[in-house]
Amino acid sequence: MRYLPNTAQNQRAMLETIGVRGIEDLLVRIPAKARLSRPLALPSALAESELVRHLRALAARNADAESAVCFLGGGAYDHYVPSPINHLILRGEFFTAYTPYQPEASQGTLRTIYEYQTMIAELTGMDVANASIYDGASSLAEAALMAHAVTSRTEIVLGGGVNPLYRRVVETYVDGAGLRLREGPTPEGVLDLDAVRRVVGGKTAALVVQSPNFYGCLEDVAAAAEIAHAAGALLVIVSDPVNLGVLEAPGRQGADIVVGEGQGLGVPLSFGGPYLGVFAAKQEFVRRMPGRLVGATVDLDGARGFALTLQTREQHIRRAKATSNICTNVALCALMATIYLATLGKQGLVRVGELSAAKAHYAAERLAAVPGVSLRFAQPFFKEFTLKLPKSPERVVARLAKQGILAGLALKALDKKHADCLLVAVTEQRTKDEIDVFADALAKAVA
């Protein structure tokens, strides 16, 4: 076994030192009746070359964004991942290190997290960001719990444009705390602010608004902030940070907490995970924040150094009273995002946003021009939009998939109200040609 270095001779020598005859003698505390008396019923071991063949065959049964043209979004996007990211994260010193509990031997990880915190705070317009949460949805769930802890209030108002998959995760997480979820009415693709004002009140811990929202529409965050703050509630914004080169920072529009899915920042699509839960907040809430934080400090010689800090918030110290149960987070994805943001930089992120918006608007025009197809909402959007189709979106999606086009998300499964709709996302990766081919194929499919 190439991963097991002990030879029979090594084993004998070690057993002798220990003073037992065999490994069995070390297992004596395990109750005999619970001992497995047969080998595990697993498929037989494969040699590396055989395994690679097998995995390639499995992978070949998937239509990925390389073998097909991807217009899927809904919380995960096919943005380009610059080459250096993968090379750098694969360096074993990053890859095979643990959470940086010994800071002196972990400055690499600590410094990259500190950079990450800075970049996320900057992008979101917030004061502080943590070192990551599992994904956008669980970040939102943590934000809801934090709002509850901060305000001692028991209701969370979720805008109707919040990704329904996120809503389900929030439901799971707030169940224990007994919070009540209410919906912020979103009749025409964006919040109906007057209606929201009536829902938000003295029990509201937080108003949660996603912008661009699940349907791709931009929400009026500043107006939402007013409503939330007027009621003494926090405003939690769900934001895709890759858009924040072009879109206003939620922090500048009144957000108290900003969460979001950072997958677009250089993290592979990978069928849904691991992704990157972004979490940023105002300074005043820092001691209520979930997750790890890295701070700058000095060493014995006065040199700058970095270490985990404010750990008394965390489970390994505070246990049942911790701000969150999170331990393992997604540090390596945060590193990908850090390198992504360093690579794209001030100008590049703007450019990614502009290109995505341009392609999306071109696509919207082309697709909505297909007879019978229309834009579902008359709202400003960014890189994603909702189409109303004259035929079953599921069937259209299935048909186009056979032509190598991942046409988008048929909304029915997640959002029954919009069963005739298709959610289409367009990133900077899509070309005019691909969009034109898509439009033509769509025209045929709905004809």
Binding site: P5, T17, V52, D64, A97, R111, Y275, A342, K346
Partner: protein, 490 residues
């Protein structure tokens, strides 16, 4: 740069920035850009550009290459961090996860276009169920702690479905912090159960707490002192007698693969840490994956959707009316599933059994070699890790932390320190099966050397580390004056 004056490389990427410098390359737009931007209402557009760094691609590569060199990793150092199973992460796992058909697969691709991925998840779930002796597994939890949350929520849903209202969960005082944290998150009151001198559950104390208001008992097996609790089946029985579900924290599964199974020991729920037992890398803190296995009575409550199989292929089964709901937006950390699947298919049943045999052998060997120098927290044989105490050394003024720091200078990462909390000056050592006797010998010699130094010259130990890029850090300052983001010196 390992050897030059590393301390001189004290740069953050922001400090390399120069206005107008670029590291990216994006195509010209083949469609008009202005109309799209004009369609965005001005108030939604960013007023001041985000102050991201402006560097070249070489800056990026060199900066992060150098930062990486400031870390110890398993790839470069023995990393005996107890409870963390810092074993070798096979390179083939990484190749597997990067096959485009996996790495670039969108989670919302139509099921027909994701059959390979769904099959892999389905099969991995089955394999994990077999390994743990469980009836079903959900791959959705993102890490051990989320697996715990899912497990406890399923237990809650189970009791509630039966019309029982139970409010407490019992957890030994030796437990990992996530156990109480997850349990509290699930809405339970956490009751600590005492451990005896050997780190085992104080049965009397357990019995005292058991009752109709107790929803679950949660325990780590082997326990966090590295020992197998011999009465674990009896404990499970007693719990069940009170209608209490038993949860096994499977973080230490590396000790018992193919030897015994949580399901066979009587557990109702058990989570896995794919990033420990199943060789997905730790990545400096994550991502991991924390699948949760359950007995059939809990199956209705599994997180939705469930990866299922019917005649014409695999699909996501959303029709789970009693489900506890979702934990992540999508289906779990699929990239980690690919790695764990690759590992299990590499090892097979015999290989996994050999993993645990060698993990146990290595830990006992280290414990034996060090027992004359450090106090042993609980008498052996241990399982895959052993807990020592620097209490003898502490009397000489050398703490567990001092030992840890000194090890860094001697070329090793440190054991876990001060965990479990019930052991004074704990040094928790988990060698893992992927380390050779030679490496263990070198480590033991370093530990012995430190024990001797504690007796003869503890000053050097207090200076340690001196070979790392920074020396001991002022943690108080870090917490008192939190500096959590870089700002330009103005």
């Amino acid at each position: 740069m390992p050897y030059d004056n590393q301390r001189a490389y004290d740069r953050l990427v922001f400090e390399l920035s120069s206005p107008g410098r670029l590291a990216f390359s994006l195509p010209e737009s083949d469609v008009p850009v202005e109309p799209a931007l004009n369609a965005l209402p001005a108030k939604y557009r960013r007023a001041t550009p985000a102050a991201l760094p402006e560097v070249s691609e070489l800056d990026v590569v060199r900066h992060y290459s150098r930062l990486s060199q400031m870390n110890y990793g398993v790839d470069t150092h023995f990393y005996p961090l107890g409870s963390c199973t810092m074993k070798y992460n096979p390179k083939i796992n990484e190749d597997a996860a990067r096959i485009a058909g996996f790495a670039r697969l969108h989670p919302l691709a139509p099921e027909a276009a994701a059959q390979g991925a769904l099959q892999l998840m389905y099969d991995l779930g089955k394999m994990l169920a077999e390994i743990a002796g469980m009836d079903a597994v959900s791959l959705q939890p993102a890490a051990g702690a989320q697996g715990e949350l899912a497990g406890v929520l399923m237990i809650r849903a189970y009791h509630e479905a039966r019309g029982e209202k139970r409010t407490k969960v019992l957890i030994p005082d030796s437990a990992h912090g996530t156990n109480p944290a997850s349990t509290a998150l699930a809405g339970y009151e956490v009751i600590e159960v005492k451990s005896d001198a050997e780190g085992q559950v104080d049965l009397a104390d357990l019995e005292r707490h058991l009752g109709p208001d107790v929803a679950a008992f949660m325990i780590t097996v082997p326990n966090t002192l590295g020992n197998f609790e011999p009465r674990v089946m009896e404990i499970a029985e007693r719990c069940h007698a009170h209608g209490v579900q038993v949860y096994m924290d499977g973080a230490n599964l590396n000790a018992i693969l193919g030897i015994t199974r949580p399901g066979d020991l009587g557990f109702d729920v058990c989570h896995f840490n794919l990033h420990k037992t199943f060789t997905t890398p730790h990545g400096g803190g994550g991502p991991g994956a924390g699948p949760v296995g359950i007995k059939s009575h809990l199956e209705p409550f599994l997180p939705a959707p469930v990866v299922a199989k019917k005649d014409d292929g695999y699909f996501l089964d959303w029709k789970r009316p009693q489900s506890i709901g979702k934990l992540q937006a999508f289906w779990g950390n699929f990239g980690m599933h690919v790695r764990a699947y690759t590992y299990i298919r590499t090892m097979g049943a015999d290989g996994l059994r050999a993993v645990s045999d060698n993990a146990v052998l290595n830990a006992n060997y280290v414990m034996k070699r060090l027992e004359a120098y450090y106090d042993v927290a609980a008498p052996g044989p241990c399982m895959h890790e052993c807990v020592l105490s620097a209490r003898k050394q502490k009397k000489l003024g050398v703490t567990a932390m001092d030992v840890a720091k000194r090890l860094l200078d001697l070329g090793f990462y440190a054991p876990s320190t001060y965990f479990p909390l019930i052991v004074e000056e704990a040094l928790m050592i988990e060698p893992t099966e992927t380390e050779s006797k030679e490496t263990l010998d070198a480590f033991c010699e370093a530990m012995i050397r430190i024990a001797r130094e504690a007796e003869t010259d503890s000053r050097g130990i207090h200076e340690a580390p001196v070979t790392t890029p920074v020396r001991r850090l002022d943690q108080t300052k870090a917490a008192r004056e939190p500096n959590l983001r870089w700002r330009p010196r103005s």
